[in-house]
Amino acid sequence: MSAARPFQDKPALRVDGLSIARGGRVLFKDMSFEASAGEYVELRGANGAGKTSLLRALAGFLKPRAGRIEFDGEEEPGLALHFIGHTNGLKPNLSARAHIMYWAGLFGAPHGWDIPLQSVGLAGMSERLTRTLSQGQARRLALTRLLVAPRKLWLLDEPAAALDDAGRAMVGELVAAHCKHGGIVVAAVHEPLGPTPSHVLTVGS
């Protein structure tokens, strides 16, 4: 379901002494963890604990107050990761197909646009404008970004939000397949996605 071929090199994510503050409030400090190829890291914590901020810092969107983030030895791993946040990154007046074509160009994708749609249960919906999709279908479309271009590190912020049980199971399968191919997944969740996490980090404790 994920990248057809396993990643050739073995990626590694290393977070060392990370401190993040938002609006003058320190969310957490001195957080350290590592994840190697094929590992799934589950982030848990109460609302406002800093899960989203941690993911945004890992993606490079948010500058940490202190600490160091490395992925494959790079401090700016933007080209090696996919980020699925709270918002889906969709334009209401564009079709599902137009979005996938756009992401394919943006991320340098080798895949045809129809493959990712089938993989997330949206086959036959390629010409639908996203404003006509339900919340769950829009979330599924956003998840196709993970499949359009293979990238080693997936940062997922409540990826199963708005999804039904089948959708949640589909996300779990995507995560499991990505890890099986040697990728790394870091996901903030309130309910387990399905795959057994390699590490569980409780943020804000």
């Binding site: 996919h82 990154g89 007046n93 970004r145």
Partner: protein, 216 residues
């Protein structure tokens, strides 16, 4: 297809499909057509006051298109995807600016022809007025990218954009008005081209820096 091209094509489709050109075009034509009604048909008066009024109307028309240029991307999460693109953010910002130039700048420049006729500009000068407006649009949009990026996180930031960019609109307005008035056309057109190139070269760099801060 490259990240630049897909961004250009997507924004072209969004702006054109969303009718983004209608409001600025309607404003520009309405404002310039009202001038002869307000000032009367005296040819000398229209020929002296008309060129600056055309340029001010064009500048205000472009301003109206800037507020949502990056705000929508910030709100719907598209900006995060742009930050993870294989292409630098500056290139993607330039693509968005060029799409705006094509969808809004070109029709506004072409609308300069009927506006110039309404203001009794000599017929032989209409071509150069259209070209100068098209160049001026590039300068306005290049500068406007920065204002739009700086205010992307501000609700109803239209007034703030105006405060930021209007001082930088002055050179294109001055030299564009000179072209429209038939004064020193060659040098004024050259300076206008310089303004456009400088704005399109530097605007995306400054706008991208502002957008990175907005993404936090």
């Amino acid at each position: 297809m490259s990240a630049f091209l897909v961004t250009f094509r997507r924004d072209l489709a969004l702006m054109w499909g969303g009718g983004g050109v209608l409001a600025p075009l309607g404003f520009f034509l309405g404002a310039t057509m009202l001038v002869p009604l307000a000032m009367g048909p005296e040819r000398a008066l229209l020929q002296s006051a008309g060129p600056p009024l055309v340029w001010i109307a064009a500048a205000l028309a472009v301003l109206a298109t800037l507020e949502r240029l990056f705000q929508a991307d910030l709100e719907d999460g598209s900006l995060e995807q742009m930050l993870l693109s294989r292409a630098p953010l500056e290139v993607l910002v330039l693509a968005k600016g060029l799409a705006l130039w094509c969808v809004v700048g070109l029709p506004l420049a072409l609308a300069g022809a009927p506006a110039a006729i309404a203001l009794q500009a000599p017929v032989e000068r209409i071509g150069v007025i259209v070209v100068s407006l098209w160049l001026g649009m590039a300068a306005f949009i290049g500068v406007g990218l920065v204002g739009a990026a700086v205010t992307a996180g501000v609700k109803r930031g239209g007034v703030l954009i105006a405060l930021i960019v209007l001082p930088f609109f002055a050179p294109p307005i001055i030299f564009g008005s000179a072209v429209a008035a038939g004064e020193q056309v060659g040098p004024a057109l050259a300076i206008l081209t310089g303004c456009a190139l400088a704005a399109l070269a530097l605007g995306p760099i400054a706008a991208a820096a502002a957008l990175r801060l907005q993404a936090e």
